[in-house]
Assembly symmetry: C2
Homo-oligomer: 397 residues x 2
Amino acid sequence: MKSTDLKGVAERYRSTLLDDVIPFWMKFSPDLESGGYFTCLDRKGSVYDTDKFVWLQGREVWMFSHLYNNVERRTEWLEMALSGASFLEKHGRDPEGDFYFSLTREGKPLIQPYNIFSDCFAAMAFGELYKATGIARYGDISLSTFKNILKRADNPKGRWSKIYPGTRPMKGFSLPMILSNLSGQITHLIDHETVERIADECIHEVMDVFYSQEHGLILENVLPDGSFSDSFEGRLLNPGHAIEAMWFMMDMAASRGDRKLAHKAVDITLRTVEKGWDEQYGGIFYFLDVKGCPPQQLEWDQKLWWVHIETLISLAKGYRMTGDQRCLYWFERVDAYTWSHFPDPEYGEWYGYFNRMGEVLLPLKGGKWKGCFHVPRGLLQVWQAFRDDEIINTSGK
Amino acid sequence: MKSTDLKGVAERYRSTLLDDVIPFWMKFSPDLESGGYFTCLDRKGSVYDTDKFVWLQGREVWMFSHLYNNVERRTEWLEMALSGASFLEKHGRDPEGDFYFSLTREGKPLIQPYNIFSDCFAAMAFGELYKATGIARYGDISLSTFKNILKRADNPKGRWSKIYPGTRPMKGFSLPMILSNLSGQITHLIDHETVERIADECIHEVMDVFYSQEHGLILENVLPDGSFSDSFEGRLLNPGHAIEAMWFMMDMAASRGDRKLAHKAVDITLRTVEKGWDEQYGGIFYFLDVKGCPPQQLEWDQKLWWVHIETLISLAKGYRMTGDQRCLYWFERVDAYTWSHFPDPEYGEWYGYFNRMGEVLLPLKGGKWKGCFHVPRGLLQVWQAFRDDEIINTSGK
């Protein structure tokens, strides 16, 4: 792919976002009766299950607010965001202010707040909606939720943790990763000093603690001091996770003008794509074991939408920030795999799950884990990265 | 397959059990340093992880005790069982007497007793070992564990349950299913009246509450009154689970002389095999959605060892008990699929995980879920079912 083609790429991502993906969710996801969104949509967009997964509700509120703030101030997008926010505000939280994991269609709690991902996406959603509307209440919800998350960060699963304390105290990559994203999203709500402190911590956690010098890769779980645990959890690689975190790092590098961080994030991205790429069938594996042992995850060899989309973002941003041609080389390979598999030209939007060989595993457009988030966010991010000419070439570190 | 061939089939199962599978575990699973068993064994039998999953420890103790009690009183089998039992006795339980889910190699607790499956297999293990040795202490552990299980049966996940109470109170098939097996295994430890009462309850739960008249199938989760819940959990089918439970029902039918129960169990077995069979690639799916919606389980289309082995047991017993020729027809198909995929002629024992197309997904011989249990138990059960000539034909219900 030549850098001259990038405007064509940007246009493909833009038009798919605005003419296909967003209209799909606008049309099929609103629950006009009970409020909030349906996310369990089959290939054609029909609702096959009415349960509401709080993190996907938050993600869709965020997405429509973000489009409104960053693409165009379309009333219909704001209205979409507001309807989801109203449902979350009414039904999302338990008496402590923690967000449930899932609710019935009407908003009755089904699954307890057993992790903090619902909260993370709710904080992002209300923060972005505050930016769109200026309504103070939304800012307050975002901020109080963010404080709740920080309070729970040492033991994010709380009383639902199955770990016996002390024997092998591992920590997971999800939390620093998501905080890297979240803290950058709500900078308009917290003071500069706190933002910087949290950013410093996130960068340290992601790039030092979870980064394994020995392997040159990000590990999904490490011992408290960052050292390797030769156990199922310790050996686990989640290439999509690691690569997604790298564009959060690149965003931080951009806002700080930190060239070294940008280049390290690009290097880790490329190393992870190479490690995760399936030379036999193409696409990036979902899970791997760093020592090549059999992973516990039976879905390890599947090809998932979000893994590929997040990789495209990191490669696009990486190229934009460093001019590294390897980013373009890999962008082309992953772009070709992604666009020849995931989009559904017949009924719109993208499939989420392929088997290793690249055949549709589940024909759904949305479910418990796939909602209105990775596809539109990725299309927007790549469009934004490639629509302008200049490369912020920070090489010569 | 003609009924005259059955002795040849029995011989194939017998010799694989005694000349291949059991020697593999005898050779590779004992942890001579710390006690107990390694179960994370790669294709060649090498240990790739040393964590000890308590339910697999219990299952192996049971298996060797059961061989000693039912096949031949070989000292080496008893010693294998005793060494695992000693490890479990020393390290397996928390102060309340509940069995942990997993331990380090040395026996330190890793994962809390967040469900009761560890306990179920421990109760079976110590009960069977008591039968082998007559050592009262083993009987006491079995019995006290069994009582613990009954105490926890209303809320088996205890404080680790993520379900919000009251909104959609579902109950799962695993518990009545495993109690059907367990209660029949420890009849020598409890009084006849209690055995009968528990058996009545299990038969009612399995054959009435979880059996859906509408679908003619066993559902994996139902509402408390047995009615259908149109949710991911409520729509879930686990064909292997349902079919395995059917031979527990057949065993109960045999011990009670209950023809009607035996025939109903055969009918459900056959209907479930037909529903679960993959017409395109052969083999039985791991999970299905009863309404044909996309299941949540990404591994839904995989072909697992235990599903196929348990099916062979139910079909063999079903034929033996009813003479129903459909059992033989399906036994032949499932037997052909199973034996052309799962056994590893090069390094012994059986693979556990194939993708939908029948290619090895994970080359392991043991792991977190696969141990010394389904393969040897199944080989023994089919051997026992087919080694004798007579059919206990109970047709004419």
